[in-house]
Amino acid sequence: MRWLKAILLILITLVLVWALDRPWGAVPALGRLLDPINGAMANADPAKDVFPDIAHIRGLQQPVTAWIDDRAVPHIHAASDHDLYLVQGYLHAYFRLWQMDLQTRAAGGRVSEVVGEKALGFDRMQRRKGMVYGAEHSLKAMEAEPHSRVMLDAYRDGVNAFIMTLNFRRLPLEYKLMGFRPEPWTNLRTALLMKYMADDLTGATDDIALTWLRDRLSPEEFASLYPEKISGSKPVIPEGTAFAPPSLTVPSVPDIPDSLFAHFNDRDTTSNHVSLSVRPCRYGRGGEGQNAECKIQDSDAVGGIGSNNWAISGRFTASGAPILCNDPHLGLNLPSLWFEVQLQTPGMNVYGVSLPGAPGVVIGFNDSLSWGLTNNYRDVKDYYEIYPADKDHYWFNGQRKAYDYRHETIGIKGGKTIVDTVPYTVHGPVQYDAQQPDPSESGKTLAMTWMAHRPTNEMLALHDLNKARNYDEFVQAISHFECPAQNFVYADRAGNIALWGQGKFINKWKEQGRYVMEGKDSLTLWGQEIPAAENPHVLNPPQGYLASANQSVTDDTYPYYYNGMFYEFRSWRINAILQQLANTNDTVATVHGKDTALHTGRRYFLVPYSRHNNGSYSFSGTAIYVGQDSVQNDVHSYLADAMYPFFSAAGNDTAWNESLDKESTTATTFQVWWALLCKNIWSDDFEHIPYALWPSPERTMQLLRSDTSLAYYDDRKTPQVENRTDIIMRTHKETHDSLDKLRKTTGLEWYKVKNTTINHLTKIPAFGYTGLKIGGWGNTINAVKQTHGPSWRMIVEMGKDSIRAYGVYPGGQSGNPGSSRYADMLDHWVDGKYYRLLFLPNSARQQSKQIRHTWTFKPA
């Protein structure tokens, strides 16, 4: 009897241990996790920074020093590139290993391995997009070039040196939660990260949507509603800038009018449900279906990924030195996309933000010059309709051509693997077919030609750019930055400002790639590459300032054809501010409001609103100091300004400053009103087209201002014919009803309705922040939306004697949710405050009081 009882107890104990040592669905192995010695609590980093004094690393050639400052930013001083990037890799991994792992897994379609079947669709699409295919090409190019090779290899060794120090206890928390372990870092992972950015920035495309619309609308109507360039655009390269004559002959449109573009009109339009890559974003706090009628016109997915940068000549600054500003808008997540770092070798001293997973500094400044990036948005991703001949062949130039097959093996958590066979054509991978239909569900076989598939070497661009000492070296460096194309703004200590729309582009015939092309004829193939020197650029323009905010790149005098998904509102606003700064003698730019306070005791400035001042502006005699921090945090809506006469017609707040201030209830009223107005104008005419593909807000605004009786104003569902006034008055009424609902649920303050949220990459609510008290929207300079916004704000003054730089990002240096450095900069970011960046002199010894710790790396 006793032994029976003993055996029973043994069994119970074993079952208990077994049950607690394995995951149950999404619940991690609880015993491992709850164990405070090795589990989660082992990741409870000391609230006061503690870093090792010394680390021994195999492969290091000379000792390296990393000074960690009071914001946990490492300042790395090394004797060679090799040692520098090795330690950068080690430190990236030290702070952000899990994030590096997951983001590159996502890039390469390997998420299912760690989360299971639910990610299979995602992984499959990543493979079909040719993410790994493109990364392998770039990897080859990067490894063939000596400088980028050293960077990659050393960086990889550094990451792996850190991984080698890990046991279960020391693993980042997320590994314990998800139940997997890091594998050795490879150069392919770094290449995948570059493609991850390329996909984020050039992956969105309206080719399929425009092909639909082109077949449905008359040519005049289509041209009017979907202009290639919006009239009145203030392009990236200022109007009037002279472009060199093209060295290539711009090709004429191939003489095969019937076989240029695909047609998607072979389906019954009334029953067709079109859902073209649209993630509807709704007002309200995660309430599915709540206020579903007031969708915000520009959703997060569309127009959310944008950025601002500008440079101001010393002629217009208080100090006489040029000022450069940049705030790239990206998906806001934790751990943050960016990691601040300073890198020093004998030939280089650079500070800025880096991408965990890749060596070098992506946005920043060195001791000679500064640069910032915005997405260029020229279309570098085109689709071709493929005509299958049989299972293994397709038609091309009248002949049967065999597919090349790429076998994509996708592992699934639990041991299963599946093999996805992706057919490749002369155009590239077949992304969509009947089994994996495109977003419009046409079922057509569509192959994709994408610049991100080409063997580009952005690593070399960063290598050269980080070391560049003058404008010529800058130009030479960025010529290697080919995809994703970026608007590089530039300011140096010699007083120059410049802007380049840089990337690798194809010499296209008119409208080539604007719509899905017929893939059966070689005449529609991509042609020659445009030489980098002929990319649109400008140095020291007469106007004395330069700005890019994802708007059209050039005026019509640029010799080569291009199209793209451009946005204008932020550009209009920034240009208005800078133009006023340049045109008025008593306004001067300062880096930061603190300087303004120094001069005038006044922190913030106001730019005149055309409604109040009719475009003119007069000063009381004292100089107005314009802190660039307040410009970056400006939430004045150009759209609201332009729409004000209509908005106020129904008695809305007449004293409103047309700003989307965080606590403004009028801002909410306006946003709801505008969304409903767009719906009322377009939803009946574009009944089966999702709202993100309706004519742009810019175009809608122009039509409303210029025309009182467009046919679109009429609601086709009512017997009477509505004009502009009718539809606006009706919108006012509906707005009132929507606001009544909002008042009862979220409250009417704009930040509450907007509900800006920064999630951890796992979307675990306890690791994220929600309901952030911040204003703005996609069409204001401070473009904070629900999950997108300024991912890094930087202001640099490139003085002859000194460099002054400020910066902030929504997160913190540590990727560990258990660290007080996880999101310690978030409050500053929300409040529009900045940190003075500590730019140390290039020296083996440092004096700064801001250095909190010295970490020495020695060869093992």
Binding site: R2, W3, K5, A6, L9, I10, I12, T13, L16, V17, L20, D21, L30, G31, R32, L34, D35, P36, I37, N38, G39, A40, M41, A42, N43, A44, D45, P46, A47, K48, L173, I764, P765, A766, F767, P817, G818, S819, S820, Y822
Partner: protein, 113 residues
């Protein structure tokens, strides 16, 4: 006396064991200690339970105190618990339970064979 001795031994040996071995080695420790230091089943369970409960709670509190409750608060929220201390308490209870069963088993095995 035996009770205190086994409690201290289990706590100490478990700390050492789990530093190098998987977390469940504490059940083995409790088993062995209760096997060698014979007590009633109830006292064995209690000694082992308390040993790990106190070890885990103490260790958790120590880590938490230097961490300004950042992580324990997040973990508590993740498990739907309203206060960081509850996370540490629940963790300690689970650890204690496993050790308790290990200890109880140990004493029974000693009696049976």
């Amino acid at each position: 006396m035996k009770f205190i001795l086994s409690l201290v031994l289990i706590a100490l040996l478990s700390l050492i064991a789990t530093w190098y071995l998987p977390w469940w080695s504490l059940a083995v420790v409790a088993f062995l200690v209760c096997c060698f230091l014979q007590q009633s089943s109830g006292r064995s369970f209690l000694a082992a339970f308390l040993a790990i409960f106190l070890l885990w709670l103490g260790f958790g509190l120590w880590k938490d105190s230097g961490n300004a409750h950042v992580l324990a608060t997040r973990m508590a929220a993740m498990f739907g618990l309203p206060h960081y201390s509850l996370y540490l308490l629940v963790a300690a209870l689970v650890g204690g339970l496993v050790a308790g069963f290990g200890g109880w088993t140990g004493s029974l095995v000693r009696k049976a064979f």
